[in-house]
């Protein structure tokens, strides 16, 4: 046999059974799901002219008189984002400690908190917003409530996971000198998990801004209401400015949070 013959790094040179089976299963699964989602090449191709037509509508002179309203609604969206994230942060810190296996006061508390957090993030913001809109009425308030609610679900879980990977030796170093329960969490757990916390908050802020931008869909405040109305009323002269402003705000926030994180860590 020629020594340049290609082979896999297995005893017999054939592909390993496990990965091959998984790959085959994935391909089979994809093949089965194509009809289920009505993936139709002909339909996609015939849709191209319509997409171009829609794109052409967007390229109209923006509605200048609408811009101040857009600014105000965008500001409201931003305020909702920051407020909801801040509220969630304050609630998530203690919940994160309780949901971390190595910092929780009791296994029962650990499991209960974990389940609570799962429940909170089980449904998307939009669904909770529907619930809160029917509870407290239209406006940004139910939006903030929905956003905070789901954010606690995610933030608490992320915080707990950051706490669970801290170095046990550093904990022991503080514990051995007679620190109390809460002191141990403040002085040994918190400093170690802090960089992860900052990363989580930044990521969630970014996510919440985009979530807040669609909450208007169900009447829970923010720019989303304008977006939906412009779409439904064929107000193309408003649609592009709204989309652009969301893009700009998200990008700016992203850049700022990157810079902030680098300075802090």
């Amino acid at each position: 046999m020629s020594s340049s013959k290609l082979c896999w790094p297995t005893p017999n040179g054939l592909p390993a059974l496990g990965p091959t089976a998984v790959l085959a299963a994935c391909v089979a699964l994809l093949a089965i799901s194509v009809p289920a989602v009505e993936l139709d090449l002909v339909r996609l191709i015939t849709a191209i002219p319509r997409m171009i037509e829609f794109g052409g509508h967007l390229l109209v002179m923006p509605d200048w008189e609408y811009l101040p309203t857009l600014g105000a609604n965008m500001l409201q969206t931003l305020e909702m984002t920051f407020l909801a994230t801040s509220i969630a942060l304050v609630i998530s810190l203690p919940l994160g400690v309780m949901a971390a296996a190595n910092a929780s006061p009791h296994p029962a508390v650990f499991h209960a908190t974990r389940n609570l957090l799962t429940l909170m993030r089980a449904l998307p913001e939009l669904v909770w917003a529907l619930v809160f809109v029917s509870a407290v009425g239209l406006g940004p308030l139910p939006g903030i409530m929905a956003l905070s609610f789901v954010t606690v679900g995610f933030m608490g879980k992320f915080f707990a996971e950051s706490i669970e990977v801290v170095d046990a030796r550093q904990i022991e170093g503080v514990a051995a000198h007679g620190a109390g329960w809460l002191q141990l969490r403040t002085f040994a757990f918190f400093p170690q998990a802090f960089p992860d916390f900052v990363g989580t908050v930044m990521y969630i802020l970014d996510h919440n801004l985009r979530a807040a931008a669609i909450l208007g869909l169900v009447g829970a405040g923010g720019i989303g209401y304008d977006l939906v109305m412009a779409m439904r009323m064929f107000d193309y002269d408003r649609l592009l400015p709204i989309a652009l402003s969301i893009y700009v705000v998200v990008t700016v926030l992203d850049r700022l949070s990157d810079r902030f994180r680098r300075r802090l860590i």
């Binding site: 051995a176 000198h177 007679g178 109390g180 002085f187 400093p191 170690q192």
Partner: protein, 259 residues
């Protein structure tokens, strides 16, 4: 300042490993005691039962008049400082804050939530840093320091606590010989000047001979020697470093050559 009484302490881990098989010892107040033994002899386990980082399966430990129990843990730890092989400082906190964590047992949880200390605590921490010669690094982050410096911070943290006992678990195992010398010297100075009882785990026979008042030799969870450091002769050492009844190898010869 406090004597330590260890009575029939046995420790069996959850995986069935028997680290200590009934160890008894009395460590006099203000003495400098070294626990010597090969890896896995139970040195760390023994030391950690003294401040309750390990709970003995049977037997008891008493510091001064205070028995070490689950209920008395915080009181015990408030009197017992500890120095670790890997320093165990909180990396992201400043040297000063790390030293101040030695004061936590004297502070309330509410103030600590906001990282508040008293002026007096700062003075004590500052004095501790003077003792170890690190005042110029007080506001550096702990993980920016060299190993030797971090161990000095570890000692300062123990000192800031104003303890009656300091336990040191292989305090020089991660350090070079010169730095090891300095650290051991520092511990001895603390013992003689402040009268703090010091118990050190070591695996360097030579350091044990030079610094210890008293040596406890441990092998496979049993005390095989308990006496003055000068009593560490060839026969004693081979008893301490004996493994599974085999005659000890050349490693001991090398060790003895240096001792």
């Amino acid at each position: 300042m406090s004597k330590i009484i260890i009575k029939d302490v046995a420790k069996r881990y959850a995986n069935g490993f028997e680290a200590l098989k009934g160890v008894s010892a009395e460590i006099p107040a203000g003495s400098f005691t070294v626990i010597l033994g090969p890896s896995g002899a139970g040195k760390s386990t023994l030391l950690r039962t003294i401040n309750g980082l390990e709970t003995p399966t049977s037997g008891s430990v008493q510091i001064g008049e205070q028995p070490v129990t689950h209920a008395s843990l915080r009181e015990v730890r408030a009197q017992v400082g500890m120095v670790f092989q890997h320093f165990n400082l909180v990396d992201r906190l400043s040297v000063m804050t790390n030293v101040l964590t030695g004061r936590l047992s004297h502070r309330s949880w509410l103030g600590s939530l906001l990282y508040l200390f008293q002026r007096g605590d700062m003075d004590i921490a500052h004095d501790a840093l003077i003792r170890v010669g690190l005042t110029d690094k007080a506001w550096n982050r702990a993980d920016k320091l060299s190993g030797g410096q971090q161990q000095r911070v570890g000692i300062a943290r123990a000192l800031a606590q104003q303890p009656r006992v300091i336990l040191a678990d292989e305090p020089v195992a991660s350090l070079d010989p010169v730095t090891s010398e300095e650290i051991m010297g520092l511990l001895l100075e603390i013992c003689t000047r402040d009268g703090i009882t010091i118990v050190v785990n070591l695996h360097q026979v030579e350091l044990a001979k030079r610094f210890a008042d008293r040596v406890i030799g441990l092998n496979e969870g049993v005390v095989v020697y308990d006496g003055v450091a000068s009593g560490l002769d060839r026969a004693t050492l081979s008893r301490i470093y004996n493994r599974n009844g085999d005659q000890v190898d050349e490693q001991l010869e090398t060790m003895l050559a240096y001792a």
